[in-house]
Amino acid sequence: MEIKKGIGVSPGIGIARAFVLDSEKYRIPLRYVNEKDIKNEIERFEEAVRNATKELENIRKRFLRRFRDDATPIVEGHIKMLQDEHLKTQILEFVKNNKYSPEYAVSRVFRRYVKTLSGSNDPLFTNRIQDINDIERRLLKNLLEERREELTDLTEQVVLVAHDLTPTQTIALDRHKIKGFATDVGGRTSHTAIIARMLGIPAVVGLNNISFDVSGSDTIIVDGHNGIVITNPDEETVKKYAAMGESFSIFEKKLVDELKNQPAVTKDGYEVSIYANIELPQEIQLALKYGAKGIGLLRTEFLYNTPQRLPIEREHFDIYKKIAVQSGEKEVVIRTLDLGADKMEVNNGSKEKNPFLGCRAIRLAFQQPQVFRTQLRAILRASEYGNTSIMFPMISSMDELIKAKDMLAEVKNELRADKIPFNENIRVGIMIEVPSAALIADLLITQVDFFSIGTNDLIQYTLAVDRGNERVASLYQPTHPAVLRLIKKVIDEGAKHHKTVAMCGEMSGDWLYTILLLGLGLKVFSMAPIVIPEIKKIIRSVTYAEAKKISNEVMSFQNAQETLDYLKKYTAQILPQFSS
C-alpha cells in the first residue's frame, strides 16, 4: 500500500483497477505486468510487430511504385529486422522472466543496441543508429496505439492514470467506465481538472510520478476531497474508502434533491441564475439533473477533434439542434471555436512561439473564414429549435467585434436567400477574457446583448502568469485587486446598460468567491454541473445586503491573500461545512 498526496480537483471517491495511459512524448517507464497478464501482453507485442510490419510493407509498395526498387533495401532491412527472431526472443524473455511491460522490454533491448553501435568509430555504423531508433519508434508507436484504442472500449471500470490528459484523449472517454483520474501534472484549472468536474468524476492531479509508479493491474483509490491517491490498498482501507464514497454520494444526492428545483435566491429575496458549462453534448443530462437554469457555455472544440478533418455543417447542426431541443425553454449559449492554431491539425501551420498570445479563437476564425462561416450557419439554423445564443471568444477590440458581427450578418443573409429559417432575434454576446476588452467594456456593451467573463484567461493575461507552469502557478491569483477591479468594471457596465453579465470561468464555480461575486452584482453564474448544488446552497444562505458589504470591503484590500483569508473566514462562518 502506498499513499501519495496531490491536489484534489474534483470531489468524490473512486476505487478501481488502474489504467495507465502512455504517451509517446515521455520516456517509457519501468513498468511490471501481472503474472496472469503475461499471455495477453505477449499477444499484444506480437500484434504490434505484425502491425508495424504491415506499415512497412505499405511504405515499400509506395516506394516501388514511385522509385522502382532503388529505395526499397532500407525498408526491406527494417522489415527483416522487425522479424528478427532473436530480437523477439530477447524482448519476450524480459516480459516473461522480469515481468517487464512489452514497451519497457522493447526500449531496454533497443537501448543496448544503440549503445553498442555508438561505440563504433565508423560513421557507416554510427549512422545506423537512426535505423535502430526508427524501428524502435515504430514498434512502440504500435504498442502504445493499441493501448489507446483499448481506452475507447473499456470493458470494466478503471481509474485513469496518466502524465496528463489531452482533450483528444478525454473526448473518447466512456464516463460510466471511469471511476477516477490521477495525473502527474496539473492544477485546479488544468484541462484534466475541468473535465473531471464536468463529468463528475473524482480527480487528483499534481502527483508527480504517479504514471511511472503505478502499473496496469494495481488497484487504486482516488480521494478527490483530500487530494490523496492510494495504490494497492489493503482490504480494510478499501472498506473504509468505499464507505466514505457511499456517504459522500448520499450527501451529494441529498443536496441535489433538496436544491434542484429551488431558485438561487438570497435570504432577502435577491435572485440570480445558475447555469452550467458543458464540454460534451452528453453532459446536458448532467446539467439538467443538477438543476442548471441554462447552459452558459457550450464549448464546441470537441467538434474539431478528428485529426486531419474539419466538421461539416451537418455535424455542427445535428449536435446544436439536439442540445437546443433537449434544453427546451432554457437558454443555451454556444461559443464559437476557441482553438489555438496549433490544435487545428488541418491548419498545419508553423508552430507558434507563444500560442496564448497567438492566432487562436476569434483570430483563427478570421483567418479561416470558411471554417467560421460553417459553424455560424449551423448555430443559426439550430436557433430555430430552441433558445440558443451565440458567443464569440477572445474579443480584444471593437474592430474584432464589428467584424465578427458583420460575418454573422452575411451568413444570416445567405440563410434568408436560401429560405432557411432561423431565429432572427438570436442573442449575441462575447467572452470578456482579455484585459483590453474588460477596459473597454463600456464601448463593447453597446454592440452586444450580453457579456460572459472568462476568468481563467482574464487572470492569466492580466497577471502575466501561465497557470499551467508550476513554478509561477502561485502567482495566479483570482483575488488580485487588478483582476477584481476588471471584473467589477465589466459587471457595472452591464448593469448600466441593462444587459446580462455572466461569468463562465472557474471562479464562478468555486465556493470561495461566491459571496464576493454576488455582492459585486454578478447575475449569471455558469459552472460545471457538479458544483451547482453547493454554490446554490451558499447563495441561499446569505443576504444580498451582507454580500454587498463584503464585496465593498474586499475592494479596499491591497493584496490577494488578504481577500482570500477574509472570504475563507466569512464563508466558513455562515456555512461551517465549507471550512477547508
Binding site: 527483416k80 529486422m81 532473436h86 530480437l87 557507416l124 555504423f125 535505423d131 535502430i132
Partner: protein, 89 residues
C-alpha cells in the same frame, strides 16, 4: 561439433544492413548455434540487428564460431558469402 574460423571483411561497406540480412538468411537455414566475435564482442549471427551492431567495417577481423551438427557447413557458407563481398564492391 565445434568449428571456429577467422576471417577478414573485404567489401567496402562492411557488414551493414543488407549483408546482415544475407548472413542471417544462411545462418537461420542451419541448425547450429553460431556467433561472430570481434574485439571481444560476441553476437548471435542469426540476428540481423546483432550482426549490424557488431559494426564490422572493411578490414575488420572476425572469429566465426559454430556449434552443432551442421557447424562445418554453416561456417563454410558464411565464409563463401563474405569472400564474395556480398555481391558488392
Amino acid at each position: 561439433m565445434l568449428v571456429e574460423k577467422n576471417i577478414k571483411i573485404i567489401n567496402k561497406l562492411g557488414i551493414h544492413v543488407r549483408p546482415s540480412t544475407q548472413i542471417a538468411d544462411i545462418t537461420n537455414k542451419h541448425q547450429s548455434k553460431i556467433v561472430f566475435i570481434k574485439d571481444g564482442l560476441e553476437i548471435n549471427a542469426r540476428s540481423i540487428i546483432e550482426l549490424l551492431t557488431l559494426a564490422a567495417g572493411c578490414n575488420a577481423d572476425i572469429t566465426i564460431r559454430a556449434e552443432g551438427d551442421d557447424a562445418e557447413a554453416v561456417v563454410n557458407a558464411v565464409i563463401k558469402l563474405v569472400e564474395s563481398k556480398f555481391g558488392e564492391e
